[in-house]
């Protein structure tokens, strides 16, 4: 029983962690989409992502460029 309780707990923690990771990624996607539409520059978008999502500069730059590339691919 205790093994099952521990396993349930670990699954819960793991699920929350994955959900949090997904939420962060979703927030970056949402922000980039809207800000790009509104004519923000890439530097401004990166700054907003750093400020709102809490990513470090390098990670934010990478994510923003990746999402912009994906959006551009879809438009082509």
């Amino acid at each position: 029983m205790f093994i099952l309780f521990d396993q349930d707990y670990a699954m819960g923690v793991y699920g929350l962690e994955r959900e949090r990771r997904g939420e962060k990624r979703g927030m970056v996607i949402g922000l980039v989409k809207v800000c790009r539409k509104q004519g923000f520059t890439i530097d401004e978008i990166v700054r907003i992502v750093i400020e709102k999502v809490g990513l470090k500069e390098k990670a934010a730059l990478k994510q923003v460029h990746k999402i912009l590339r994906k959006i551009a691919d879809k438009e082509d």
């Binding site: 793991y14 990624r25 979703g26 996607i29």
Partner: protein, 167 residues
Amino acid sequence: MIYTGNRKAVKDIISLKEDFWDNANLPLDLRVKVIRSEDRGDIIGQYIIFAHVLDSQINIHGRTKLAAENAIRICQDNGVLKEYLDGRRKEVVDIMVMLFDQDYAMGVYGRERERVGEKRGKKCGKIEGVVETCRKLGATIDDAVRMIMEDFGLSQEAALKQIRELW
């Protein structure tokens, strides 16, 4: 702690304080010796060899019963954990397959949770983007409320609540 992965740069000692808490000023620490060498000549070394053989078989056959059976056969042929595997071959295969199934289920569950989080995050990110735009353009909170009500189909109360958190 036994390490059976393929990374070359693995520390000999892992410290909870140094490696997980950025060497913070904590009164307690936990230090763990990392065992990773195959050349120990004892049962731990043999277990590490078994794990490496299993990994290579998984790379070829995926997380399948065949991979588990091949890994066991290779180890038996080379005298690795031979005594143990000779007596418990079926039990080891069953456990490996169960672990593969569990890994698969965990993967599906994790991806599902991540998808749920991403959906929520996207909506939140879009609202933040609208709020940020309104601020940049010098719009009022009322303008932002109206935009969010229109764009996201929220009630005035819900839109106002979101904006108060983000403005």
